[in-house]
Symmetry: C2
Subunit: 482 residues, 2 copies
């Protein structure tokens, strides 16, 4: 990636981070060195402060030249102490835009370093939708101060933006709408546009409205640019427009952006008035963020843990998940406990049982991953559920017969016990069928009960395949071998 | 989501799918009914063919009115037989754009239904970059036919597009570049643009070049639109431009698009000439697809399995992963096998050992998920590796002490055996430390050896935490309890 055309290729964000780390380390060395010198305190202090200032000035200059997203990257990559040094050097009028770019965990550490007045000042440089993004991380009274510092128009927008829950279009939209009446000529439209210094970012179309701001269609800039100035806007207007309600789910909007290759789409109220817009940059951020949040949620992590969070905070973050898994593991362990008598007689059972349980878990997770994906793509319906069931059961039986036989033979050879091999093979097959059923029904049930099937499915699934795996294998062994 | 402004809100893709399914079911009912009637074959055939035609005509009309992405959605949601009926009804000039929208697995089934001539004809309606996207799924001789059917200019573009590997910018870029010289006025630029019927989609800026096509900067349309026509393009040109090489990694480009909110960026050759462009719609598709591929790869699935794939194909797709996990589970089982003597004496060990192993796996997966994410964000460096190690070990000890104690007490109460409780607690703590180390080093090692740490980490990790969990617990028990 090259960031410039005239100058030699400038640095990547990673290189900026390395450079800043180096400058910070240098400064620490110099400080240590000065501190270790003898001599009178005043002179030492003077030298220290000069060196300090030089270093910081260089750092500050570097930071001033960077895109807010690059400064955010650097802040993310630094341990807390160094992070706050850098944060102190950022020009205060850039605070707001940088706060928007960092992750929640890092934002918390930066906000903790600012007083209310600084936060309110930072918010002054942001748009209503951007302030709304920050608001959940701010103390209630600071949010109140920010709202009061806005003018009437901005305040209404801010209150509107604040009223929509995370995951809705309302939480992603912004208010930089450029709309135009359909009964004017392109010439007039262009003259109207020239009143702007520059159109808002991501504007690839004007929203065409009637006199009451009802959406009539859109006029793509790429069409306006190549058209005869005398033509009326109405003639060029696209009537087949994808628009959203602020209450729509952001995930659905993201799918529409992908499907129809949108750059910018109008957000309209229930009565059809244009109230805001949704842009592809917000959608792209949303897609990436929800992907990351899901990755983390799958192993029981909330987003709020940065790489340098304290051990204590991190342990607290991860603890509940371990506790939950401990409970399910404990129940599975009690299933084994019920067969302790059998295990005492044939300890080989203890060695073989984790295989039956484990492969069941692997297989079930394959099924549930496919089902979760199909649910996300709206491809599972009552009409095809039976077909899916037949398919998954078929695969379970087929894989179970195959790998069960392999393992049954291995167990037979290992322990010179044909019956043990047979029990092993049968248990494997049955547990793969259990896994197929669990992998299919657990995500469906979670979806039905309004939970995100991508997140909790695997705990439940492992619980079922472990407990049932132990039960089936040890149960069959008790019946047939002892 | 609303797809229209003048008409009442039109249907969602899901509603289209339901309607098509209904039409197909209706037709099948009618066919069955007619077939069951007595009467001479000719008359029956006539009735059948009339009903058939009416139904198909209605379906065809519906399909013609849909966006290619919506037709693709319908094809994805139908079982093979119905899918091919619908595919046969799609107007052949739309085949190409629809093939582009469906998933690889479904594309294979559609291509299998077409002969070479049809495929070559479908490709005629596509751009070079789009053909290159399809090419990996086509027989080599068909690709050759397609290349030969292109004119010289298109052929050069196609060969260029075909030469870049998946995951590179070259594989995502397209050739719809609109460039302009910097020494002309905006007036001239606008007149030049009017030669287009409409600018290519996702064009939010013109690429400014010198007479040899070297990139000099970009001119955002939003600025061109509001500028005085007499101003020279050079004056308005942005010199700080994000551009890419066709060899750049697509993932890096995607990060740049997110970071700098890009809509469209130039792709330049090594000598600085503009050769293509990268647009946000391609980036958004790439982000979503690589996310999905990764989800599937994590449980050992390749992308090529659609919801209605045959049991046999699916079992083949999932088998290797189960085999791999069988091997690791087998090794872990041999660790237990080594302690069969101890288990015979104290069967409680068999019941408790899965807990130690399981919680180790959960905890290690938390660590490795965070490390994989930090690696993806370029936040792990030699400088902070030691700090990370200290943090993860700290968390392992803390959580180990906490949950080890809880479980130790439970084991003690359950089996009325203090020493067993102590061994349980100690084993838990040690295995959580092992898990922290494995969760940190396995992804780092995979990254070092050029493998995707997001994919294989969890198999290795579970292998380590299972084997070591069994070994530590049973080993301690053998030493201290027996």
């Amino acid at each position: 990636m090259t960031l410039s055309t005239d100058k030699p290729p400038s640095a990547t964000p990673q290189e900026h981070l390395d450079a800043v780390t180096r400058l910070l380390a240098q400064q620490r060395l110099v400080e240590d060195f000065v501190r270790r010198q003898d001599g009178d305190g005043e002179k030492r202090g003077l030298v220290e402060s000069i060196v300090h200032k030089q270093n910081l000035a260089e750092l500050q200059k570097r930071l001033d030249g960077l895109h807010p997203a690059d400064v955010a990257f650097i802040l993310e990559g630094l341990p807390l102490e160094e992070r706050l040094v850098v944060w102190g050097l950022v020009r205060s009028d850039r605070d707001g835009e940088i706060l928007l770019e960092v992750s929640d965990a890092v934002r918390d550490t930066l906000l903790a370093d600012m007083d209310s007045a600084e936060i309110v000042a930072a918010a002054q440089n942001l748009d209503a939708d951007e302030i709304a993004d920050l608001a959940p991380d701010l103390p209630v009274d600071v949010v109140q101060d920010i709202i009061e510092a806005q003018d009437v128009h901005e305040r209404a927008q801010l209150q509107s933006a604040l009223s929509y829950p995370e995951g809705s279009v309302g939480a992603l939209m912004d208010f930089e709408v450029v709309s135009i009446r359909e009964d004017v000529t392109c010439e007039v439209a262009l003259r109207y546009l020239r009143r702007y210094d520059e159109l808002p970012g991501q504007t690839d179309a004007l929203f065409v409205v009637d006199r009451d701001d009802h959406l009539r269609g859109i006029l793509p800039l790429k069409r306006l640019l190549v058209s005869d100035p005398e033509i009326e806007v109405a003639t060029l207007t696209d009537r087949d427009v994808v628009s959203f309600s602020p209450d729509s789910e952001a995930e659905e909007a993201a799918k529409a952006f992908e499907r129809y290759d949108l750059v910018c789409a109008p957000v309209v109220s229930a009565d059809g008035r244009v109230i805001a817009r949704l842009t592809v940059d917000a959608v792209l951020d949303f897609v990436r963020e929800s992907q990351e949040a899901q990755e983390l949620a799958k192993v029981g992590l909330r987003e709020e843990e940065d790489l340098f969070s304290s051990v204590w905070l991190s342990a607290k973050n991860r603890g509940p998940w371990l506790a939950l898994n401990l409970c399910t593991a404990f129940v599975a362990s009690r299933v084994v406990g019920a067969f302790e008598g059998s295990i005492e007689k044939l300890a080989a059972l203890a060695a073989l049982m984790p295989i039956v349980a484990g492969i069941g878990g692997n297989s079930g997770n394959q099924t549930s991953t496919l089902i979760v994906r199909a649910l996300a793509l709206d491809q599972v319906s009552a009409a095809n559920a039976r077909r899916l069931l037949a398919k998954e059961l078929g695969i379970g039986v087929l894989n179970g017969a195959l790998w069960g036989s392999v393992l049954g033979i291995v167990a037979w050879l290992l322990y010179r016990n044909v019956a043990l091999g047979g029990v092993m093979a049968l248990a494997m097959m049955l547990n793969l069928v259990v896994a197929a059923l669990a992998g299919l029904f657990i995500p469906l049930a979670m979806e039905r009960f309004g939970r995100d099937p991508a997140i909790g499915s695997s705990v439940f699934l492992t619980f079922v395949t472990d407990s049932m795996g132990f039960f089936i294998f040890l149960g069959l062994a008790t019946v047939f071998l002892l």
